[in-house]
């Protein structure tokens, strides 16, 4: 089998898994009854505008943990669709909710994700950058989501507690990546 053939085969297998997951998902309630909330923040030694230049650029989400590629469909970040390719080879698709450059704040939601990458359903978030003086900024990431398993009696890895733990770790790692990138970039 050629290399190309193997890849195609792998894609078909993946599509099969995705389809099974999708069918299982359709047969259940779309999300659990209790939405979870996390708030993570980080202080960065850089001007707020400089931090926002990275956060507000939705064409490049490479600072977000596990993201290896970004494609934006549409030009208005308030409503555009962004397809993030992850290290796993799968994608996470997000869509703009609001975009306020003056307040350095953006909001979006995820329209498609695999719970193996992010154990969450109906995820939405707001990320904002606030100045703390002239050379320091605080980034706050508010996320709202349901656990990765929508139905009753979730498996342990997709229950409320562990879904929340995993999303928090992903958000935290992303903010650390952002800090490292912006601070390394010099001021």
């Amino acid at each position: 089998m050629t290399r190309h053939g193997e890849n195609t085969m792998r894609r078909i297998v993946f599509a099969g898994i995705a389809l099974t997951t999708l069918v299982a998902g359709v047969a259940q309630a779309q999300h659990a009854p209790t939405r979870r909330k996390i708030v993570e923040a980080i202080e960065i030694d850089a001007a707020a505008d400089k931090v926002w230049a990275v956060v507000g650029n939705v064409k490049d989400s490479s600072w977000v943990e596990r993201v290896v590629g970004t494609r934006e469909d549409g030009d208005d970040p308030a409503v555009s669709t962004r397809t993030l390719t992850l290290g796993s080879g799968r994608t996470l698709v997000e869509k703009g909710r609001r975009y306020d450059a003056a307040r350095r704040s953006l909001a979006y939601y995820i329209t498609s994700n695999d719970v193996r990458d992010l154990p969450a359903g109906d995820y939405s978030a707001t990320i904002s950058v606030q100045p703390e003086g002239t050379d320091r900024a605080k980034v706050e990431w508010n996320a709202a989501f349901y656990r990765g398993y929508p139905n009753i009696n979730p498996p342990p890895e997709l229950n409320d507690e562990n879904s929340e733990k995993a999303v928090r770790a992903w958000v935290h790692a992303s903010l650390e990546n952002l800090k490292a990138r912006v601070e390394k970039g010099g001021s």
Partner: protein, 316 residues
């Protein structure tokens, strides 16, 4: 100078005299804080906390407005609250995921939707609080529900079935399914029971139903992820969870009447008794936004505990 002082003084006087007339309470299910917060709307602050675990979400009031019934989807039960004493007096275990809840205004019978299944539980007030007297088969993932003022029909929004079930309460059976938009969640009846409105979460619109004709007669576009509709002053007001807005529309022409910016993830919304003020629970921001139904302006904000949903009849 006197003119400049005069205007604020005028408003202050209006506000002060208005307080007793508008004095009302909100009972906000704070799902993450694990309580029902009692808000004095005149004072614009939380005046009592009624602890309640199990992720309280849905709320409905008895016909005499003295008892609240609160669903606990994670606690698999329905709590009974004495609103004057501000305490939980009883709790009835129900299976599945109790979420949406309503009360028959004629009989006081309580109906609870099982989010995980395709059924509605029938609960009757009893000396011990509540007892289950039946179960009605409806569509998949029932959420918002309401009984018509004449007590004849129960309408249920079936989130995963894109439909509204009409249950004939004389026989306690579903008599019809009405097709609506995608993923209807909240369901609101007009005061006369002639119209019903569902907020369709994924088609981003509101379905308008002619209850007697048993069919959808109109659609209104909303912001992203509408949650539930409230009615006041000839307009409908729908919370848009992802847009952080409330979309207003005319009830006669079904045309957009304006968009009101509120806070993060607005969910429950209800109109005050006077029909002039609306209260919106902002789940993400932990607040209630106060909206003037006439001017479509936000006139205030009240801090509430974590994760307010207030899904149902939460004002008295």
């Amino acid at each position: 100078m006197s003119h400049r002082l005069g205007l604020p003084l005028f408003f202050l006087t209006v506000l002060l005299t208005a307080v007793p007339t508008f004095a009302q309470e909100a009972y906000v299910t704070a799902q993450l804080a694990g309580e029902v917060a009692v808000v004095d709307l005149g004072q614009a602050k939380v005046i009592a906390h009624i602890p309640l675990d199990g992720a309280p979400a849905g709320i409905a009031l008895s016909p005499d407005r003295r008892t609240a019934y609160v669903t606990r989807p994670e606690g698999q039960s329905v709590a009974v609250l004495d609103l004057d004493a501000r305490k939980v007096t009883a709790s009835l275990a129900v299976p599945g995921g109790p979420l949406g809840i309503c009360v028959d205004p004629q009989t006081g019978t309580v109906y609870v939707a099982d989010w995980y299944a395709s059924r509605v539980f029938v609960l009757a007030p009893a000396p011990e609080g509540l007892k289950q007297t039946g179960e009605i088969a409806v569509g998949k993932s029932p959420s918002g529900l309401a009984v018509t003022p004449d007590g004849r029909s129960l309408l249920v929004a079936n989130r995963e079935a894109d439909s509204v079930s009409v249950v004939d309460l004389a026989t306690a059976r579903e008599s019809q399914k009405i097709a609506v938009g995608q993923h209807p969640f909240g369901l609101t009846l007009s005061a006369d029971g002639r119209r019903a409105y569902t907020a369709n979460v994924t088609s981003n619109d509101v379905s308008v139903i002619d209850v007697a004709a048993r069919r959808e007669i109109g659609r209104v576009k909303t912001g992203d992820r509408p949650y539930v509709v409230a009615l006041a002053g000839g307009r409908g007001f729908v919370t848009d969870q992802y847009s952080n807005t409330v979309t207003a529309f005319g009830l006669d022409d079904l045309k957009p009447a304006g968009t009101i910016d509120v806070e993060d993830h607005p969910e429950g919304i209800a109109a005050a008794k006077d029909g002039k003020t609306l209260y919106v629970a902002n789940w993400g921001d932990n607040s209630l936004s106060v909206i003037d139904a006439g001017t479509l302006k936000v006139t205030g904000k009240i801090a509430v505990p974590d994760g307010p949903r207030a899904f149902g009849d939460f004002l008295r």
